[in-house]
């Protein structure tokens, strides 16, 4: 892979890798580290990718792996307030920021499938392959995640 090709991929998929990593580890600093690690792995990768989509899936898969590795390692220690981080994101409204907090409060096992399904538009089958899960597991997790988000949003409306 040439430096120019790599720069193109880094610019096009840097945000995707970062978001997957953020969903995995719930911490902006760790997510940035994972993003850089994953991109550097891509640069060194000798695989002949079939297509742009193959590159994207490879990046997501490696980001999920790196996120899991970080979570299981002793290095998963850095914790910054999510509210603090949300304050640095350019959300359009307080509701958007609140939705972010609600989604990030979900357990990790729900966050990543939710992101891949709703944001990246992957099918349940594709999400299952990317997360190395059974399709039925993905389906259940998506359903439970939806229920939890709806419940949290309803509670928030009632409280306000």
């Amino acid at each position: 892979m040439t430096a120019e090709e790599f720069a193109g991929y880094a610019k096009r998929y840097g945000d995707t890798v970062y978001r997957v990593a953020l969903n995995c580890c719930k911490n902006a600093a760790d997510a940035e580290d994972i993003m850089q690690t994953v991109l550097l792995k891509l640069y060194r990768e000798k695989t002949e990718f079939d297509s742009e989509e193959h590159v994207k899936r490879w990046l997501i898969r490696v980001a999920v792996n790196e996120g899991r590795k970080l979570r299981s390692s002793g290095w998963f220690k850095r914790r910054a307030s999510l509210e603090e981080y949300a304050g640095t994101v350019d959300f359009e409204s307080p509701e958007e920021s609140e939705l972010f907090i609600i989604v990030m409060a979900l357990p990790e096992k729900y966050r990543v499938p939710l992101y891949l399904y709703y944001y990246e538009d992957y099918t349940i089958k594709e999400v299952a392959a990317l997360c190395k899960l059974k399709e039925s597991t993905v389906q259940t997790r998506l359903q439970r995640a939806r229920e939890r988000v709806k419940k949290a949003l309803t509670k928030q409306e009632e409280d306000s």
């Binding site: 690690t37 792995k41 640069y43 060194r44 000798k46 997501i60 709703y118 944001y119």
Partner: protein, 138 residues
């Protein structure tokens, strides 16, 4: 919810500086020689693990950079640079390969395949000839 979720996450972006940092790292790097055989690299690194582990123990766990050059088939050579952190984890130049000591004391290489999956292989059965090996304190 789907639409709100999409809109919300579209605002979450990586720092452009961090992306630029990675691009700059690769631009400043000279093209690397193609490794003809992953297992050759693994074997080189297995030697490095053993060499580095001994040196690291002697240094009291100090962080080292190791450069190992190897002649393979009398003509190809590859330089592997890596950091030894805790005495049991070694990374390749940019972190593509990780060599760890397996439970049975054998070196195990972990790398990422074309589908992005992590693959681990025990690499105790390969022979090679190391030309030079040196440790440099960071």
């Amino acid at each position: 919810m789907e639409e709100k979720y999409k809109k919300m996450f579209s605002r979450v972006k990586a720092s452009p500086e961090k992306i630029q940092e990675v691009i700059a790292m690769t631009e400043s790097r000279k093209p690397r020689r193609i490794v003809r055989n992953l297992l050759v690299t693994a074997a080189i690194m297995a030697l490095a693990v053993l060499t580095a582990m001994g040196a690291n123990a002697a240094s009291g766990g100090e962080l080292f950079t190791y450069v190992v050059s190897c002649t393979f088939n009398g003509q190809d050579s590859e330089t592997v640079e890596y950091h030894l952190d805790s005495g049991d984890v070694v990374k390749g130049g940019l972190g593509s390969y990780v060599v760890i000591e397996g439970e049975d004391g054998k070196a195990v290489i972990t790398y990422t395949d074309g589908d992005g999956n992590e693959v681990s292989n025990s690499i105790d059965a390969f022979s090679f000839e190391a030309k030079t090996a040196k440790a440099v304190t960071e």
